[in-house]
């Protein structure tokens, strides 16, 4: 059986199914639903009617997932509230809590990555945003953490970034960085399993994490 997702429309025969792979691939590379479907149409892999129904279904699924995520998030305490000090004078000031500082840096880094993806065709802008992201990850190393696995994940990110300095970033690599950064934000006290997943995500997108074994001076990263 092929490991390809299919979308079957209600008014087409059993044989007339739409290859969903191109759509999924496009989505993985960060494109919008519209872009993914457009790519299917351009390749002649789906008719306009099929695409319309597919778009509706995907749109409905995306909205359901978003609603579920919102409900789950509503029931969770936010770290910003857990570590908030009762002090009127401190409102609007930067927190001295290491965990919140780390989250702030990661959040800013995430914005740089989103901008890099948005301006992907403009190489200078894209690489400039990645430099800013790299800077933020470097700043994280200055925060004294008590989570060994988190420190390892940051080191993995630094190695990944250092190894890409002379190459330029592919869309796939930026998306991997974005996904790992999101995971880090919610897992500052991370388990071995989460750390392994982060490393796998980076390696799957083409980052070389074996740099320290190839004569790169590791201390240059810090």
């Amino acid at each position: 059986m092929r490991s390809v997702m299919y979308a079957k429309t209600s008014n087409v025969s059993e044989d007339n199914i739409v290859d969903f792979q191109a759509y999924v691939k496009r989505k993985r590379l960060g494109g919008s639903t519209g872009e993914g479907l457009k790519s299917l149409k351009e390749k002649g892999e789906a008719t306009g009617e099929e695409l319309f129904e597919l778009k509706q279904r995907v749109g409905s699924l995306e909205s359901t997932v978003k609603k579920i995520q919102e409900k789950v998030d509503e029931r969770k305490a936010s770290p910003e509230n857990i570590y908030r000090l009762i002090d009127d004078a401190a409102v609007g000031q930067q927190s001295d809590n290491t965990l919140l500082k780390a989250r702030e840096l990661l959040q800013i880094g995430l914005q740089h990555l989103e901008q890099a993806l948005h301006e992907f065709p403009d190489e200078i802008e894209r690489e400039a945003k990645l430099d800013l992201f790299f800077n933020n990850i470097r700043r994280l190393t200055l925060i004294p953490f008590k989570s060994r696995n988190f420190e390892d994940a940051i080191t993995a990110l630094l190695v990944a970034l250092q190894g890409t300095v002379t190459e330029g970033y592919s869309r796939e690599k930026i998306i991997a960085l974005r996904n790992v950064t999101k995971v880090l934000m919610d897992n500052i006290f991370m388990s071995e399993e989460v750390l392994d997943k982060c490393i796998d995500k980076l390696e799957e997108s083409g980052f070389d994490l074996s740099l320290p074994f190839k004569g790169i001076d590791f201390y240059d990263l810090l």
């Binding site: 969770k76 305490a77 857990i82 570590y83 009762i86 989570s147 919610d186 500052i188 388990s191």
Partner: protein, 231 residues
């Protein structure tokens, strides 16, 4: 009448609650072994299918855990450094072994006392803070209020604060055979008790929850709550 620094921290308590901690019954020994390797001064007090109860070293930090909770407390801590470290390590080892990823409730409580022999003065002081201004109403019911206490919860985003304060009037009687003597000089019989309890009102993800950071934050907050309400 008093500064925050005059108060004595009688007890600090930390507790997390969770569900699905059924690996307690399979891994209790493993947890005790791992904890003892890290903290050799740990003494086993009582272990049963309901809960495990241990005590740590000269600091006498009390720790217990079961399939749905883990908690620690320390009486009369001089400083909280060791308490935070021990609590953080215990939390990490227990929740890792029980494979808990979500916390239903986290809480951190501070029980302060202040010695003051004149109970009437304490009552007058509490009245000046606006908690017991019902004197006019009780005149028809009786002569005066003698054991005032108040309890309320301040709702905040995700972490609420329970405050309990009142006049403390207690006694301790111990009879021991000669020649054993007990030093009771540090025991406060009369004064004010102030209890500040911080607890989560939503579930907390383990990935963003650091025990030492949480206790440090709430320790500061306890001081701020007391200063705003009582000082």
């Amino acid at each position: 009448m008093f500064k925050f620094g005059d108060l004595t921290l009688e007890r600090v308590i930390f507790e997390v609650r969770f569900h699905n901690g059924y690996l307690y019954w399979d891994n209790c020994g493993k947890i005790l072994r791992t904890l003892s390797d890290k903290w050799p001064d740990l003494v086993m007090r009582e272990v049963s299918p309901e809960r495990a109860h241990l005590q740590f070293g000269e600091a006498e930090i009390d720790m217990s855990f079961s399939h749905n909770r883990m908690g620690t407390h320390q009486d009369y801590p001089k400083e909280l450094g060791l308490y935070k470290k021990f609590t953080s390590d215990s939390y990490q080892i227990i929740l890792d072994t029980l494979q808990i990823s979500t916390l239903l409730r986290v809480g951190n409580r501070y029980q302060y006392i202040l010695s003051h022999d004149d109970t009437d003065e304490v009552i007058e002081f509490l009245k000046t803070k606006g908690f017991f201004n019902i004197s006019e109403k009780i005149r028809v019911l009786g002569k005066k209020i003698t054991q005032p206490s108040v309890r309320f919860v301040i709702e905040r985003d995700d972490i609420s604060v329970g405050v309990q304060a009142g006049v403390m009037n207690r006694s301790l009687e111990i009879s021991l055979p000669k020649p054993i003597k007990v030093d009771m000089s540090a025991f406060v019989e009369r004064g004010i008790s102030i209890d500040v309890d911080f607890f989560s009102t939503k579930i907390v993800e383990r990935g963003t929850f650091g025990v030492e950071e949480f206790i440090t934050t709430q320790e500061k907050n306890a001081g701020k709550v007391i200063e705003k309400l009582f000082v």
